[in-house]
Symmetry: D2
């Protein structure tokens, strides 16, 4: 008996649920959970099923291809730990939160390593027995620095996701296109408010009464990728921007870990620069 | 072309989604939205579909009966305004919020009338051209009073839901059993905290930092019926219990209206003293 | 015995609390509540005290002037109903919420009238016995239309606040400068996200997971005035922008009423395009 | 120049703010922040000031005693790291969150050690170079076990706070009375809902739509001590109680750390089984 996560992203047409559930039924699959969503505006159909059955993975995939519209994007995934690499700069909270959850067994992930442009976080990471690679950006232009990081990433095999746990440097389109919808970033504001540098300072200057954080996939336009998760917390006039930053960290780490968990459990579809999350 | 909301509450077994989606497909229904949930603990299957098609309502019902397990509870509902009666005492906010939403056309409901044990709210209700019935409890014991209310309710035809919009008297089991899962109450606390009288006073005395409100169906045990919706808001030491009450009203009215909307749109299943909400 | 709200906005220097509390003490005032805040960045001191005592208002003011730094802004206010005019367009929820609260006696306000560029809301407003003035913008340019509204406003005496309860037209600087920090607007987004037209559509297109509303004073730059109150609510991929709009209304009306209440109770200081709220 | 946190808990009477601010002013103190609260119901006055000045701590204390009512509780505290001991059982998230914050320098605390009735958490704690004491309860009755824990606690000097980071055993009144308002516990429910064992199971069975966590001081009655901080998060019918537990952990750890931070910064007053928090 095997368990599969079946993900279908198709153009909508009549009978899709019928065809897939027929296949599951006749092949004697047991459906554990089933979620569907139809976007009427874009005529898109999304389905995620978790099923138990005896069919081989490749065969299930082929049968799904046979019944679904051409150009459907179909995934049949065996739940297992995904490989992630974390990139960080100097702040500890978001990275540390992931390390702790990993240690507690909460994440379906192997952490292959942590890459940083400083050595600040090395003591923390090494406590957890995880490889730490410092790739300083000093004396390098952006392209050179990214080249070195890409070289380090190439040493890891089969990276499923790169997690930017407060990695404070901008990634170029060239870097990003290597990892489409595979880079998860935490931005320390309630996007699209306060794009760019020092969002807590911006929030303080604007006098907002609520601050937030946003986890999103990274695409070519800074801070404009598909949003995965957001959360907020209240502030008032008595908060300096440093206070906001301190308070905001609690939101950042929880939102990033929540987004990472959704990704590891194959719950996210991306389209039209948005996410469908089951 | 007709639109139906199809609600299925069945014991779970393999193939339920298949059988229903087959029926929809072969009868040429178009599925607008589809939600399923399987409660593995209780082996229960719940499904709500909104479909467009040409089949008659009775025929669709019969066909569903034919393919689903015996003892399944099946509803085929044509979306139309439901009939509601509101019961209130003296407070205006929850009742007024429903009247306003009704006036704005936000609710799929006809308000048949408002029943109160005081005449306080008559001026408000009559502004909206809705019948107001005052059934004073003075000089009556609980049974006598309820008898008179039941008599008034009997004058309205086809009541779908009774909404207790801060009706501050306890209903007896005898009353309640006439309207199983048809009475929606707003309790002014985050249940099950602060069951019973004056929950804001209780909350103040306990020194909580968050207060809330709970909309639930009414059953025989006071404040213990299936919960439909809850929400909360923050307080602090500077709030008197009157302040909490004032602030809490905003939560009460929003939560009650939200629960009412879910009921009017046939989105609620009740079982095991809980709700499944799609 | 009189009650006063004393509001002090001064440049910070040593001894301000001492000097004010000395005055209260020696003049035999009883302090009911007292709030202070010092903004170290801008060297500003804010204080709001509610006091009971026998001194006349003008004398208290003069004594405060005598002990406080020059250029301090001092207000001694007797709590009483303030005069407000509401401006709206076609939507009912925010306006209706204020009318209900007013009827329930929750607001320290006289509603002098409602001005709209349509007659849509006249039936609702007249239910509550409040004057309704329709000033259509049809066939008028912006300046002409505003001129007519200003003429209507001039007929009301002593307006304390103008409340824009989903008034969907932009006000010019010329209009606004007549009512500095006296116009309270509700913007249907979590500002500064989604400035401008149709923020729910913008939010939908961006794929956010949380939507919000912002009450703020109106200044010359659209949607950029000092923020008074904000709140948010969660959405997901299944929400159309119309769904977001419907859900957002509940946030809008609560946030606007909360901001109005803060203003009516003299709890808001404005400076540096921000608010201090006690 | 020294900095002090001055905490005053007194019976209310006219002139308290005046007398304290006079003292600060005449002794040439600079007030950084100042908060007051008067509980009219209990006629209690609370004040917390952070001041900079040249007076010695003992002298400032004596001067305050001289001007304030007898029976006032006065504290003059120099901000410095407080000594804490953490007690835990097997769960890692709440303990780990404190260890990380400590490492990041966010907490004004020395962690003297961690005491657990299991050795499960030893590997985690030792990573951070903090003493770990395992006091197994096996074969011991409650009194004997506590005796051994008290003996271990006695080895640490000057404990300011004991933090129960998911310590899953009940403490007896005898234990608790040694540390009045010094033991901070995290309860995994929105108290007073779901007192006692397995609150997530209770919440699941009740069918709530929101779950929460509560940090409180421990007194003789289990889960009934003064509440310091609470927070909540939304759930729905699809959550098993294990899912609620997993989600709830994020709330637990943030709420406990927030409460701990308030305690370390001397922001909490306790009276009437409640807290005043500045």
């Amino acid at each position: 008996m095997a368990r599969y996560r079946v993900l279908i992203d198709a153009n909508d047409e009549k009978g899709l649920v019928y065809k897939v559930s027929k296949l599951f039924y006749e092949s004697n699959f047991n459906i554990l959970t089933n979620n569907e969503f139809v976007d009427k505006v874009n005529n898109k159909f999304f389905m995620r099923s978790v099923v138990d059955g005896d069919m081989e993975k490749e065969k299930l995939y082929d049968e799904l291809v046979a019944v679904l519209p051409k150009d459907s994007r179909i995934k049949v995934i065996e739940p297992k730990k995904k490989n992630i690499v974390i990139m960080a700069t100097k702040e500890m909270h978001a990275l540390g939160d992931i390390l702790l959850r990993h240690q507690e067994g909460e994440l379906e992930a192997n952490i292959l390593g942590v890459i940083s442009n400083y050595d600040t976080l090395e003591p923390l990471v090494s406590k957890f027995g995880i490889p730490y690679v410092c790739v300083s950006h000093e004396g390098l232009d952006r392209a050179e620095h990214e080249e070195k990081i890409l070289a380090e990433l190439a040493k890891f095999e089969n990276i499923d996701y790169i997690v930017l746990a407060k990695y404070m440097r901008i990634l170029t389109p060239r870097f990003v296109e290597n990892f489409e919808n595979k880079i998860i970033n935490i931005h320390h504001s309630f996007l699209p408010a306060f794009i760019g540098a020092n969002p807590y300072k911006q929030a303080y200057d604007r006098g907002v009464k609520i601050i937030g954080a946003t986890a999103h996939f990274v695409n070519n336009n800074l801070d404009e990728g598909p949003i995965i998760a957001q959360d907020v917390t209240e502030v008032n006039h008595a908060y300096s921007w440093k206070d906001m930053q301190r308070l905001g960290r609690d939101v950042e780490k929880v939102v990033l870990s929540r987004a990472l968990k959704l990704a590891l459990e194959d719950r996210i579809f991306v389209y039209a620069n948005k996410t469908v999350i089951f």
